[in-house]
Point group: C2
Chain length 178, copies 2
């Protein structure tokens, strides 16, 4: 799907609501995908994201070596594939092929965008000081993409063991908050 | 409302979906509340939570001094009060009084639970190494409470500027994920 550039100053609006995301990494021309819910914004601009990628995951080694990844944000339409990605390891399968997901070239990183996701954030590792103790990477988002056709993307929020809350109604309250 | 104890091993199920939370702190008998969306699980058990509390917030100084807080999880019924808490400072107002929220004594920390929230996590600061650079506190959840009457609490997810996605449908997919 054709994506348009999304301002870095607004990236927090995509991640602050806590959606499940798919993280893509690549090494030597081979790409991988992992499902992730343990992430938080750390700074508005340039957008910094903190996330836990366990050293038991195949993606940990690739991220540690390549220092690049893409955070792809799926909607509920991809829920089954998100679980499939979470339940398998890139050590054994090519998840793009096995789950019929489409890799698209990114602009600033080697890792591919997942075309089916409504937003894609190209990231470079900015700080590894917390990796040893917490498997916690600080990422800087260097480029963001969004599908302009999806006005109300319904993201999903993992509650454990394959149970997800799907975004429902949107409410708007007068606020001075960013 | 009467709360029951909630197992620490399952706390990730409450925070992993990324709800807006209300953080309570206390110093010298005076309690404060702040709204927060920038948090992530860091470890399952004992449950560790990482969160950004800006040094521009009144709560920053209290947390830094007291090393204790409570993470209170509101449902959509409290959305207006969440925004009210986010749009005011404890330097100027007593938010419990002004917004008619009920403080309840916690078991292990000085900060109060907010009675109206469906879950409450008593926390101690476990690591301050990332506070200087990122305003990022590592908290250990030492006690968790939940309202057993709320079987399907609808949490809210901030998308910026007072817009929130409310939990809608819940889906359950076969999964090996925790």
């Amino acid at each position: 799907m054709p994506k348009k550039s999304f301002p870095l100053s607004k990236v927090y609006r995509l991640l602050e609501p806590g959606p499940v995301v798919l993280v893509t990494t690549a090494r030597k021309g081979r790409a991988n995908i992992m499902a992730m819910s343990w992430h938080t914004m750390l700074e508005f601009e340039p957008p910094l994201v903190g996330c836990v990628i366990s050293n038991r995951n195949y993606s940990f080694d690739i991220l540690n070596a390549s220092k690049e990844c893409v955070i792809n944000i799926p909607t509920v339409a991809l829920a089954k594939k998100v679980v499939d990605c979470g339940n398998s390891s890139g050590r054994k399968v090519d998840k793009f092929k096995k789950f019929s997901l489409t890799p698209m070239a990114a602009s600033y990183v080697q890792a591919p965008l997942i075309d089916e996701c409504y937003a894609n954030l190209e990231c470079k590792v900015a700080d590894t000081k917390m990796v040893n103790k917490y498997n916690f990477f600080v990422l800087e988002v260097v480029k963001a993409w969004i599908d302009p056709m999806q006005k109300h993307p319904q993201t999903i929020h993992h509650q454990g063991r394959g149970v997800f809350a799907v975004d429902g109604e949107t409410i708007r309250l007068p606020s001075k908050m960013k």
